[in-house]
Symmetry: C2
Subunit: 435 residues, 2 copies
């Protein structure tokens, strides 16, 4: 039996695990498989990642190079050569699923990967897609391509969807301790999927189909997008009523049931919350249904950078200054606190809007020493060191992301005008504006 | 000092506490004040409530008559005579704040009460409004009326807003253990408010203003309304995609951070979630801002009874039956499980729609033996006893509210067609339809 042989190899850790995509999701998973004793081949088309790993170096802030150095050369083999898929018993896809320019799902990385590895697929493999995507992707995009090669899914090759739940920088939970949802194309596929993850995660949550697993991950992120959208809308309402919404949320959070606090901010960023929900919106159209909460959350959340800019304009104006010509410092380039990830960060959108208005823009982020290369945004900037002199030299300082490493006393004392998007500073001081 | 004398009396429990409105909120509070040793005068315009209490009888299912009998005649004095406000040191308003016919706040009970008690107010009192309402109510509706009597708020009379957080039927939390948010018109008001609640609740959460306290309560219920609206919308989407949303929510709930499960249903009911959010919507208009999440949640949630009816129509149709002339049994009249409260219950809306379509309607609810008197709905019905015979005699059985006291095996086995609004029954059986 193909399946029982595979499950045996996975159980006794003689299986070789292949992981495609060595980013925020793939790299921790690679290390976890190494840790428990599997041989792992890590695939990435980005040769610079492969080279860094081969030198035992990490390129993700919260993952130590020591962990990589420990396994490279022995159980971990990084490569950009997809033909080595021949050697693996399991292949896990951790590739990006971004949005296209018209907010449609961009499955090019998923489809490109399956087509690139097609010549090297072989019977007795389990394939797992971890990339967040709409319900039906595994069934409609992966399964037919595998079957076109002559394999029977559920007999020759086992196919599951098992969404990643990485939370970079969260010290409470790791790849091992976060329960893993898994749905298979067939019962046999699910069994193989469970065997694949059984040794590396503490809890597996089997669901009845790949579609259910796909929707599970989307629901998690839709829940966050909508709850953040709600408090962002409430922030605007409370601000008009001269009520501090942060105080209100903290008070509401003392209710011991039926309430969970989410906090407003300058918008949403990262590779999940601003993107994933629209995968469902797109798919729902095929079924003639609407995802209005997602649309509304998207609209509210994406309007927040403009709201922040309007608060900056107002704050400068009340000091008889125009934005044009003002020196403005953005604190926090990352999209959330204590991480070095600036993907889809609202800070960047705010910087761009202000630059377009003629401001001289600087930023400070202890996690991001230089403004990274981005597809859609370009700044030639390095992080400003925060000192009395540097802070007080700006017309306006904007707290966009509230990293723990910032010295908030230093900032409060020296900022001429402080626009606070995170409710970090008590209201009332003349130099402080909430946004 | 007026204030220090009042605080002393509250602290040493020689103060007399008056509570206006002896419903789901006021009655538990009355009993809690009695329990810790205060003398309490309970006011209600409804003479039947006063009479019941005088006889030591409870009219709320989850409050035992023994608790009432224990205090009536000694520390507890129920009355409908508002002139006895003369005798109290503290007056707590637990009166209804419903919506008018055009979804506008109906403050008639709040305003009516303050005007009725006006002749009996006296210096050295603390007044607390607990009724859910929009930010500004205490400041704009109560304070001016007290000041018009010649009192200085914060000096003669102390005024606070401290929202009720009762969760009827929740065995985990009581009036004592639920933290109590409190905001005062002045610092002195807040101090008096804290003294008022200090002996009866474990934790007081002071906030900076009555407005902040008012918005806190609204935010709690807006959060619920929006999250329920979201899963109700998702239910419709998942249903079209042939995915069981209940399974998806259960799987998502295994994520140990960043997700909180809310479950879909036939709509929302009770005296909070369907009503309170629109208090903010109404007030926000005064400030030129919109509460779009609230509007959307209201729209989605209030459309759910029609969605359920459409599922009933479809289910009967697939058995070649029309609704007209069909015998339909609604399980659960209460708006949520294990309580006897049918206010704003979607079950009633569903019953009315089906009756309008010509169905013969019955209901079964172990908590509600006879259909109660309602302002806007009228049925002359008693709860049907659930037996093999009774269940199988209906063309369709609708699980609207999933009380623990229902015998689900009995229902599943005997229902000819079972429309399940609560995800209680596994899908797949030919007699089961999810709604």
């Amino acid at each position: 039996m193909t399946q029982s042989k595979l499950i045996d190899k996975l159980s006794n850790k003689t299986a070789t695990i292949g992981i495609v995509g060595l980013g925020y999701v793939g790299l921790p998973l690679v290390l976890r498989y190494c840790e428990v004793g599997y041989r792992v081949i890590g695939f990435d088309v980005d040769q610079s990642k492969v080279s860094a790993l081969l030198e035992g170096k990490s390129y993700i802030e919260h993952i130590g190079s020591d962990k990589i150095a420990r396994f490279v050369g022995s159980s971990l083999q990084p490569t950009s050569d997809l033909s080595r898929v021949k050697e693996v018993d399991a292949l896990i896809f951790c590739v990006p699923t971004p949005l296209g320019r018209h907010r449609e799902p961009d499955l090019s990385f998923v489809v490109g990967t399956i087509e690139s590895v097609a010549p090297y697929l072989h019977p007795g493999m389990v394939l797992s897609l971890e990339s967040t995507t709409y319900p039906g992707t595994t069934d409609e995009e992966l399964k037919p391509r595998i079957e076109a090669l002559g394999f029977v899914v559920g007999k020759d090759i086992f196919l599951v969807f098992s969404p990643e739940r990485e939370d970079p920088g969260n010290p409470m939970f790791s790849t091992q301790t976060i329960p893993k949802v898994c749905g298979g194309c067939t019962k046999e596929c699910l069994q193989a999927g469970i065997a694949l993850y059984d040794k590396v995660v503490d809890t597996i949550v089997p669901v009845s189909s790949t579609r259910a697993a796909e929707l599970t991950k989307l629901l998690e992120n839709i829940h966050r997008a909508v709850n953040i959208g709600l408090v962002n809308e409430m922030k605007v309402v409370a601000d008009r009523m001269n009520i501090d919404l942060h105080e209100v949320i903290r008070a509401a959070a003392t209710k011991p049931f039926g309430f969970v606090p989410y906090y407003p901010g300058p918008g949403i960023g990262g590779h999940c919350i601003p993107i994933d929900p629209f995968y469902l919106t797109w798919k729902a159209r095929e079924f003639g249904v609407h995802t209005r909460f997602i649309e509304l959350a998207g609209e509210v959340n994406s309007s927040m950078p403009d709201y922040v800019v309007s608060k900056i304009v107002d704050g400068l104006n009340s000091r008889k200054k125009a934005v044009s010509g003002s020196r403005i410092l953005i604190l926090g380039l990352a999209y959330k606190k204590n991480v070095d990830d600036s993907r889809e960060s609202p800070s960047v959108v705010i910087m761009e809007r202000l630059r377009d208005l003629g401001a001289q823009i600087s930023y400070a982020d202890p996690h991001i020493p230089a403004f990274p290369v981005m597809r859609a945004h370009r700044f030639s900037l390095s992080s400003v060191a925060l000192t009395e002199e540097s802070i007080s030299s700006f017309d306006c300082v904007v707290l966009a992301t509230d990293h723990d490493r910032f010295d908030y006393d230093l900032i409060r004392t020296n900022a001429r005008l402080l626009v606070d998007c995170r409710g970090r500073f008590a209201e009332g001081a003349p130099n402080i504006v909430r946004a």
